[in-house]
Symmetry: C2
Subunit: 275 residues, 2 copies
């Protein structure tokens, strides 16, 4: 599905310069956001991550400009519910890897219709593909996403994939972060070597799970530890919380009462995640 409406540097149109460093080197970032009743539920977290990522990639990003472009596209859309994707790049550049002195970042905002509802719980495949390890790029939602493209190529349409890194640690889903209830404690993989630190992951860790009176531990997680977990779920800012019933051929979770408790609390606060 190609985007229904696109804004490139505040102008309607679907084209970008073929000398854009986003294309040449993946020198940029993106956010994929739920739009619901004209609002983006976790907007402050999305914007904060974008600004933090731009700083790590040396892109002089004006957050106000991103916000204005998102608002412009939202006002323009006949629908007020769907998905908004923002791509920010270092802008058009030279042939070499070094950034130009006067970077003019490119901001692309795309609208997509809301996808079909997901049926819970989900079954997940363990991908053979392993995530690259690099502390300097870990956590950032940058445009170098061949890892996810290669992993997704192992899956059939509608299948979900779980990814380990090259050091055998459990990291995340292809498009989701992961939480596991292990010995009564919510845990989520540490993302200091690989993975994307999702906005929903942060919201759950910092706000929702503490609201439920418990806390979350971020730590390196192995596959045997995950398989021994009482309950497991995927999350992202498009679907919210998705309980996992099976890691194909490796593990089965028959009940997920604590996941369901979190999911209900999330839906109370953000009704768009009642999928």
């Amino acid at each position: 599905m190609e985007p229904a409406h696109v804004l490139v540097n505040s102008v309607y149109g679907a084209s970008i310069n073929s000398a854009d460093r986003g294309l040449l080197y993946g020198h940029g970032l993106f956010e994929t956001m739920r739009l619901f009743d004209g609002q983006i539920p976790l907007w402050p977290l999305h914007l904060e991550r974008l600004i933090e990522g731009a700083s790590r990639l040396h892109i002089p990003l004006d957050g106000g400009r991103v916000q204005a472009d998102c608002q412009q596209l939202i006002r323009h859309m006949p629908e007020d519910t769907g998905i908004l994707k923002v791509i920010v790049t270092a802008g058009a550049g030279s042939r070499g890897y070094a950034s130009p002195v006067n970077q003019k970042p490119t901001v692309v905002v795309q609208f997509f219709p809301v996808p079909a509802s997901t049926e819970f719980p989900v079954a997940v495949q363990l991908c053979r593909y392993r995530l690259s390890n690099n502390p300097a790029l870990a956590g950032i939602k940058h445009l170098n996403r061949l890892d996810q493209v290669m992993a997704a190529s192992e899956l059939n349409v509608g299948e979900y994939g779980l990814l380990l890194d090259v050091n055998d640690h459990v990291i995340e889903g292809v498009s989701h972060n992961l939480f596991a209830l292990i010995d009564g404690q919510w845990q989520t993989p540490l993302l200091d070597q690989a993975g994307v630190a999702g906005v929903m992951r942060r919201y759950l860790m910092e706000t929702l799970i503490p609201l439920c009176g418990v806390d979350v531990k971020e730590r390196a997680m192995t596959l045997p530890e995950l398989l021994a977990a009482e309950e497991v779920f995927f999350c992202n800012s498009l679907v919210g919380i998705m309980p996992i019933a099976e890691l194909a051929g490796l593990g089965i979770w028959k009940k997920w009462p604590y996941v369901e408790h979190l999911r209900k609390r999330l839906v109370e606060l953000h009704p768009c995640y009642d999928v």
Copy 2:
């Protein structure tokens, strides 16, 4: 320097679709090639690498189309000497990581004027940034080049950088491969975990160095091994062979007779590398 002339899918023009998977995920490849007297010296090796890379990234590339587009741009140019850059992507796609069923690859060909001559020998800085390790992507000249962008951001204009990987192995320059004469044996880093397997590197290993009556060993290389080398050089298909006189603060090479011998042999066979 932005490209002087650009062909996108056989049509003159500088724009690509903002839904192109090259922009969205870096799902694509590139080649940067020397153009001299209307010819690309190592063309068969460039095309072979592009086709091999496309196969590894599941892009159904027609090599004949790339060749035709390059020839079209070369015929169109008033100059017959410069740099030709080809970018191949998986084409416009959907929002998700999975490739569309009917991929239509995008082919971009850009012309750049030949850069100013390089003065030999060169001094090289050791970059603090470390290359990601991933056997599934190692060697391919794909569009996920944040590693090189981040490393280049440490360098001043005109400086050359040497890169180690996260496991402390010597891998390559920011835009060059590396060869070292160690105990009288030409060696070049093994690129099975990280790095880009350059076309000039392959030409030197398979053709030029054997023509000189010696062979090359590909192996994991540490920094102390490199510093103990008798002679060291960088190479790529734009400049040919560049002797290295210094790794700043770490090592000095005062003479490079064997490098000069290789360089002269290369220039005899390919005069464009007489820089």
